[in-house]
Subunit: 284 residues, 2 copies
Amino acid sequence: MLTTIDELRNWSNEQHAAGLTVGFVPTMGALHEGHLSLVKAANERCDKTVVSVFVNPAQFAPNEDFHKYPRPLENDLKVLKSAGAPEVFVPSVAEMYPDGFDASVHIGGVSQPFEGQFRPVHFSGVATVVLKLFNAGQADIAFFGQKDYQQVCVVRKMVSDLNVPVKIAVCPIVREPDGLAMSSRNRYLSAEHRRQAVVLSRSLAEAERLISVKKEQKVKNIVAAMTKTICTDTDFTVDYAAVADPETLRELDIIDPLKHSAVVILLAAKIGTTRLIDNAVIEL
Amino acid sequence: MLTTIDELRNWSNEQHAAGLTVGFVPTMGALHEGHLSLVKAANERCDKTVVSVFVNPAQFAPNEDFHKYPRPLENDLKVLKSAGAPEVFVPSVAEMYPDGFDASVHIGGVSQPFEGQFRPVHFSGVATVVLKLFNAGQADIAFFGQKDYQQVCVVRKMVSDLNVPVKIAVCPIVREPDGLAMSSRNRYLSAEHRRQAVVLSRSLAEAERLISVKKEQKVKNIVAAMTKTICTDTDFTVDYAAVADPETLRELDIIDPLKHSAVVILLAAKIGTTRLIDNAVIEL
């Protein structure tokens, strides 16, 4: 297990010196099948894989769940061992943000709507830590889950705008048998709320049916149907449900197949004190 | 001559693949002996040197001299040819900041006082472009002039905080025979103002004498003496003259040799429409 940035950098340099490619999977731990699909993809596409486990304080606002975020490190290490035993990087907060740390990376555009409205400091914290990890890890390919769709857009934009020498690979959302997108935050849910949480993926399926089968073009009708699906007989409130351009994340009012070859449906909803997000890309 | 980021990256990768080290000298062109001392240092310490010539719009405020900044590219290329003929990277503004570009890097602390007070967007623009150049050029060592002392502090802090894999080398200020620090902006000066500009380095020498010989500890006395030297019988106005910790750039009121092994004297002054900076590090 690597715990310092120098150890990670040396490890990566050694792999490259041996002519091997390095895949990088940044995580906040509390690993589930979604993360393991990233490890699997990295193992398939790269000679060596390193998984970082770091709950990044910079991407949580003071009122968010940084302190209660699950940190089952021992179990995470066990799970990784049976998932091809990648190298693991587990830095302390002091290693990543030493006394006097005072840098931040801001990505405009794609980081502003949706999560950016509800979590104003979030993506700057994400961009900063991901850039640090990329710089330290010097990987050839970094693997992210589509589950955090907007995060992927922000990371891609950062890599492009700041000329970061890494390729970004995106892996599909992994879902529970009933359709709930896997998330470390699902473990916050009570049994009853877990049962209700199926409405999120169901609302995406409903939206997809409206767009692909019913050829519904008015986003407000789609959002109304999604909101109804999510909120009827549940304890959910919707933070946002929207249809957007899959690259720029500009919100759409009308889905025009002549203008777009695909759209992304994005949603965030709260139940009790838990906030969940999900999304689906629909080819037109 | 390289003009695209891909060309620069490929060139750098080729050098590294051949087992060669790469030195990088970022400049805004209008090269003078100060720049050439950086090229010389890079040639001495690295197998290959690349010099970038790019007048970076992001580090100029709208009221500053971006448009009138000198761009004698042909002469710069000639000068470089006779200075060891390093590789040259001359990107366009559109190559560095394509449509939709929307990223910025902010370094707190060291970027806030002095130049940060007078040029609020300056260091964010510097940090952003330098990070892009570092990412694109993947050099082993980057060379900066001590002339832009605070810039060096900002770049060092960025490299440290964001874990950028490059070493920073700093070369001494190169001065004209009368003591004026070399600067591309010196060419803005009329003959009369050029003659007067000697007071800047003279004020630093005066400060050094007060500190090292007279053992003056009160910064306000040192600043008063510097201001008198700079403003008596000249057209200069002083933006700031200060004594600071050489690393944190925290301004000092008292020079205490028990607390500091060195201090930096920083000054900025305006004459006509031209703004000049200079500095000196004094070992205690």
